[in-house]
Symmetry: C2
Subunit: 581 residues, 2 copies
């Protein structure tokens, strides 16, 4: 049995940290197809993924071998590992694949197998960070082919830890052998979907590289106001779409107006615009900060374990985006007055977006068409064509909104009375639950709004103690601190308060670059610097704290605990740095 | 000397609380005129006030004698009174009015006299809550006639307390006699500017009645979603303008476009629109909450004394406002495309507003012209003509902005490259200073933005302990709480967290009325109810705490201390209620 378990995860031995073996990397998304064919009833479920994978099937035109530092190991330690927790594995019943497939949700139970173990995930599906829709793809079947694509499951030990409590039995050896054979075949016959990732800067801190999730180190974050494209943070959900020259030449943005084409009197319900035609529209540039909704999630784990990448403060960057106003694109597609359409019948409407990698998201049409909202379809980043990692050939920039709404690799937009479908818009993935909720099953996710505008944030990127070689407890020293601050919705940063005595007193920082942005259209961050007295604590350290205040006089909450949420989203509690100088 | 002092303020005797004698009430703004004539150099300074006072000179058409509860006495106690602090008054030098007038600011010193005492206010003018511009009206002269109008100086003991430290001498008896004579003459000859205040509900909690500042009691606040007009909170800066029938018939809103008339190709730089013509434009209705920027200032005083009315949570109310879109008015005035004008040359522009009582304020043109901003010029409140207390005949409604920008008694609007002048826009009055700043002289007020959008707030209006007759310390009881929550900028309330154990755990409240407002156009508050376990503290009380979260996931800060500011603005810290059931 242990050898079986070891196929999917390296088990801890003698109290060592639990780590996960990566599945072999030379596999391709197309592998799903053959697997699905052998796995009755799963074909429809897979169609969405397969559609997204089509673009990945070509060969590389610009990919080179990726070379990155190893993913940052998880810092979570544990007393016991999977082996200890599931001691009585041999005593558990054995099930066949057929028996597993009977529990595909239709009878109220959802089972899945992985690495020779059978799991009952019925109560977990609502809490699947990637959304219940997505985990249900594997209902009644084997998890292996899905994790082959969604390798974020190997980035931390969280998935295996959660699964410990869901074990219901073993999978019949012959059935696991069949799965293993199939996976081996997939590996042999197909290319690794991650084989054509772009080359990345070694300066980035990589949390997981399949898909790539990497943040900017603190010392680089405020080294230039516009983040150079190669050190702009990366947060992907899938392999980076790969386009051949012919794909680019024939690339067309699809604008689906079918829900409104008759009332708008449009001849065509769908309009396609080539990149060349798009570039004929007036060009505009917007300097905007993007931030992952999970930025600073790492700090939130101190108040309770959350799921997802353990970002420090570096999942944020700023670029000058060049492109065309979304409103101009809508007008070019035949919508004479996008604002009137938005207001029509007082019904909420959404701009739905789809990307080449299968991502779906939407924004409200008021933001999409607001004359002061500065939403653009970008084809440039910092004066160059968009890099593959940041959305080549087209991405949407929704200034002041969470980065997930700034759709990369844009393939299609659509005006609809409904939000985008899928985990990234309607699922748990980007929903901030109340601090009291640890089981998403207990809330109505439909009533919880998805991330749109972002709250006020700040971070400290350096702390220097002025001219004191040794810190004596109880003494006050002068500290030079600098950092960044940003708020969503275009709300300018009006103040950053800095404290060296845990908030007993505050010093207002000097605001630098970014402090002169347009009123209420401050889409990019503001840099700050501050000299502040700090008290040396008993342990010889000083702690420096920052909190920013935006134009609406919202400020950052003191404690991370009161905003804790199970997905670890939106941690904008006071930023704290402890240093010995 | 003491008798002299007693003319202006009742001095504390034997440790009694310091209170202030009101100046006689039968006086009129026009009194300034004769006083100014005798007070060389002050004429120009007074012209602004005099212009505002003209409308007050008529006789009443609808005023009735006001009858209110006495102003809430200040809760501030003090060890020593004015008498004790200025023991050596007799030893101080005596100055003449002429000597006082030499220190009018031109030589770098600013003196004023009041009640026979001479004060050096040089270092205070920057910190005058009503703005330095306004206090400078009395530079080198007597304060009496100004306080005759601005009677908020008598609402608390703060003005006299601050002035204790500024005493430099006595005013020559003959000069004070002359001032007293003049004030007596003013009283005799002129009508009290507050003689024609509207009748108000006795349900309101009055903090000061000249000008009227009154809040809604907690138990009424959430008794109806739309606040009845007669218990809508009142926050005035002056007497309520009084209009005769002929004034109303000839009333015209002035639209000053002189800064842009040539580039817009307009024939007239100023357009006037009668109320009848205004009402011919399409009517629209907006349900919007208004909140005084100082709401909950009372709580902020626990973290340090602030200046201004000590509001509890009741300086907030909600009405359905009926009127015409501001954009339609601008178009009617000849501006073909208000959005293009706003964007022209990328220069920030402002909509400046002036009222019949001399108030001036402005909002950014992006808000004024935003198709989704819902700014209107209202002539109705809850389906009836605007009451005098709420802006009759016209007021601006700027949904999501601080109430001070929702100009009552609207007389004039103007598009300008500059913010409105005056204390309410550019002065200290509505500026949130950093918590570190107690002396406004030390900051550049021009760099501090005025209140615009409002942060996220909540309040608790009732707490009922469920079925427990006696509270035993350490026990947990079930508590039913209800209240309101609101955020500026149209950001919907997505959650209200309630705690009965000081935030150790939270229960998400049920959101009621207001929770179904348009996405990001939630201009009105949201009501909530919650059953929450609460722990009985050692003293037999329970404390219930609320904090709301808005669409941008901004939340209320835990402590009032870290957002403390000298003007006591924007206190949105956790709302706390302590009860014995």
């Amino acid at each position: 049995m242990l050898s079986r378990l070891a196929r999917s995860c390296a088990l801890p031995r003698n109290g060592k940290r639990l780590t996960h073996k990566r599945l072999a990397t030379s596999r391709n998304l197309a592998a799903f197809s053959s697997f699905a064919n052998s796995n009755e009833g799963n074909q429809n479920k897979l169609s969405a993924i397969l559609a997204a994978s089509a673009i990945l099937a070509g060969t590389s035109i610009c990919a080179s071998e990726a070379k990155h530092p190893d993913p940052t190991p998880t810092n979570v330690t544990q007393e016991e590992g999977f082996e200890d927790n599931v001691r009585d594995l041999d005593k558990l019943p054995t099930y066949t694949s057929e028996q597993v497939s009977e529990n595909n949700g239709e009878n109220g139970k959802i089972w899945m197998s992985y690495g020779g173990i059978v799991y009952d995930v019925t109560n977990f599906v609502y809490n699947h960070p990637g959304g219940s829709e997505r985990i249900m793809l594997a209902a009644g079947g084997a998890v292996e082919p899905y994790w082959h694509l969604y390798r974020q499951h190997f980035a931390t030990d969280l998935p295996m830890r959660l699964m410990e409590d869901m074990v219901v039995g073993k999978l019949a050896e012959k059935d696991q052998d069949a799965i293993d054979e199939q996976m081996a075949k997939i590996e042999e016959e197909n290319e690794d979907p991650y084989a054509h990732e772009p080359k990345r800067s070694e300066l980035l801190i990589v949390h997981g590289d399949q898909p790539m999730n990497a943040e900017v180190p603190a010392e680089l974050l405020t080294s230039s106001y516009i983040t150079p494209a190669d050190v702009f943070y990366i947060r992907h959900h899938h392999p980076v779409p790969l386009m051949m020259k012919k794909d680019i030449d024939s690339y067309e943005l699809e604008i689906d107006l079918s829900e409104f084409s008759s009332e708008l009197g449009l001849k065509e319900s769908t309009v396609k615009i080539s990149i060349a035609d798009l570039k004929k529209l007036p060009k505009t540039e917007v300097v905007a900060t993007l931030q992952c909704s999970g930025n600073r999630r790492g700090d939130m784990n101190s108040a309770g374990r959350t799921s997802g990448t353990s970002w420090s403060q570096g999942a944020i960057s700023t670029a000058k985006w060049g492109g065309v106003r979304l409103t101009d694109v809508l007008k070019a597609a035949g919508i004479e007055d996008p604002i009137s359409l938005t207001e029509k019948d007082s019904i909420q409407k959404h701009l739905r977006m789809e990307s080449l990698d299968g991502m779906k998201a939407s924004i409200n049409m008021e933001k999409a068409t607001n004359p002061y909202g500065d939403v653009i379809i970008a084809y440039e980043m910092n004066g160059e064509p968009l890099p593959r990692d940041h959305g080549f050939p087209l991405r949407v920039i929704v200034p002041g909104f969470a980065a997930v709404r700034n759709m990369k690799w844009l393939k299609k937009i659509e005006i609809s009375k409904n939000e985008a479908e899928g985990a990234w818009q309607q699922g748990l993935n980007y929903k901030t639950l109340p601090p009291s909720v640890t089981d998403a099953k207990k809330v109505d996710l439909a009533k919880m709004p998805s991330m749109t505008e972002v709250a006020v944030f700040s971070g400290i990127t350096s702390v220097d103690i002025v001219g004191i070689p040794k810190l004596k407890p109880g003494k006050t020293v002068l500290v030079k601190a600098k950092g960044w601050a940003w708020s969503g919705g275009g709300r300018n940063i009006v103040r950053v308060d800095v404290s060296g005595n845990a908030g007993e007193s505050w010093t207002a920082a000097n605001l630098g670059e970014g402090s002169d942005q347009k009123f209420n259209r401050a889409w990019a961050w503001t840099f700050w610097e501050c000299e502040v007295p700090a008290i040396v604590k008993k342990d010889g350290t000083v702690e420096v704290v920052s909190k920013a205040v935006d134009l609406a006089f919202n400020s950052q909450p003191e404690s991370v605990a009161h905003g804790w949420n199970v997905r670890g989203l939106g941690n904008n509690s006071w930023y704290r740095v402890i240093t010995r100088g």
